[in-house]
Symmetry: C2
Subunit: 195 residues, 2 copies
DNA sequence: GTCTATAGCAGGATAGAC
DNA sequence: GTCTATCCTGCTATAGAC
């Protein structure tokens, strides 16, 4: 029997997260109301509180899940045997994954200040762990003489900023394919680290 | 005669912009109330409307002024005679200016979506004009054979993202001086463009 | 030019019916 | 699990006294 209202707990939770992510990315966390999220999902505002204790916890859940999936995805990538191979994999992985999850990436950069101190520290820790992955590649490459940078920490920050920047201008169906963009950026990174 | 309340139009206007900039950068445009800004300035909320027609116009004024000052400052820089000299000047200028105006830079990246369509277009135009300055340097360098990039447009975006990223981690009094950071980044940029 | 006061509305979150 | 109704708070912006 069809009915207007009923139980949908398995589907409503994910839909709330998806719509919240979309709305937060588009308008900003503070500018989006619980009523707007509820309307996008197709439920009443009160129903959201069955799935999250409050608005901030909803944001935290989105950011934490994203960062954990980013790290998990990177860890399943085949490791390059040589340092330059590992670096190329990182460059391509970062661009590819970030374009695939552009909404969540955007949130992770823009909405950190809306987290409580404790929750901020958690996300910050995950971000640092990811950055360390790249820095270790650079250090290993430097030690092996496969590349040469003035400062591995600064090179790490520079490369990540450069790669993440792709998200600000890349549009599907534009002038260049994702793969071409990855290749061009890999070329610039390779040269930048003196390899 | 001293008095508690009175005329301060010459000083209140700039103070409103300064406090609004600080608060918007720290908490986000949507999360800051007109009451908070007024309290920081030391006036009542109603008084703000003598200086701005509404909250969005206040943000637009901050962003527009910043972008215009950025372009004006760049245009007063001595131009390099050779392409590589010009590129080095751009790199050092961008890092230096952005660190000096970190609040406004942050706003210009984070709060664009809180502008009306028309105001957004104005800021976007100024940003594009600035990017074009770098792209012209790269094109000239490419034509002169002083450097080699796969794509000047992508190299422009990559370099700007990389340089602007300094703002996310640089802290005065940290491990490296501003000048050292500029030199390290210039080294990476120079190599990245194959010079 | 600034103040106090307030109109008019929207927000987060909860209570209790179904 | 969802809905309706509501509490309480805070917001932008304006009116009118000083």
């Amino acid at each position: 029997m069809a009915r207007k209202t009923g139980s949908h707990s398995e589907i409503t939770g994910p839909r709330i997260r998806a719509e919240a992510s979309r709305l937060f990315a588009r308008h900003g966390f503070a500018a989006v109301s619980m009523r707007q999220i509820a309307a996008a999902v197709g439920v009443q505002a009160g129903a959201l509180y069955l799935y999250t204790p409050d608005k901030e916890a909803l944001l935290f859940d989105l950011l934490k899940t994203h960062m954990e999936e980013l790290l998990a995805a990177w860890h399943t990538e085949p490791k390059g045997a040589e340092p330059l191979e590992a670096l190329e994999r990182f460059v391509r992985f970062h661009i590819g994954f970030n374009l695939m999850r552009s909404e969540a990436v955007f949130l992770s950069y823009m909405e950190l200040r809306n987290l409580s101190e404790a929750n901020f520290a958690v996300i910050e820790g995950l971000r640092r762990a990811y950055e360390t992955e790249l820095e270790e590649i650079l250090k290993a490459g430097q030690a092996a003489g496969a590349l040469s940078v003035p400062d591995t920490k600064l090179a790490t920050m520079a490369i990540i900023a450069m790669l993440t920047g792709v998200n600000t201008w890349y549009r599907e169906g534009g002038r260049l394919s994702r793969d071409t963009v990855e290749t061009i950026y890999w070329d610039m990174v390779r040269k930048a680290v003196g390899a």
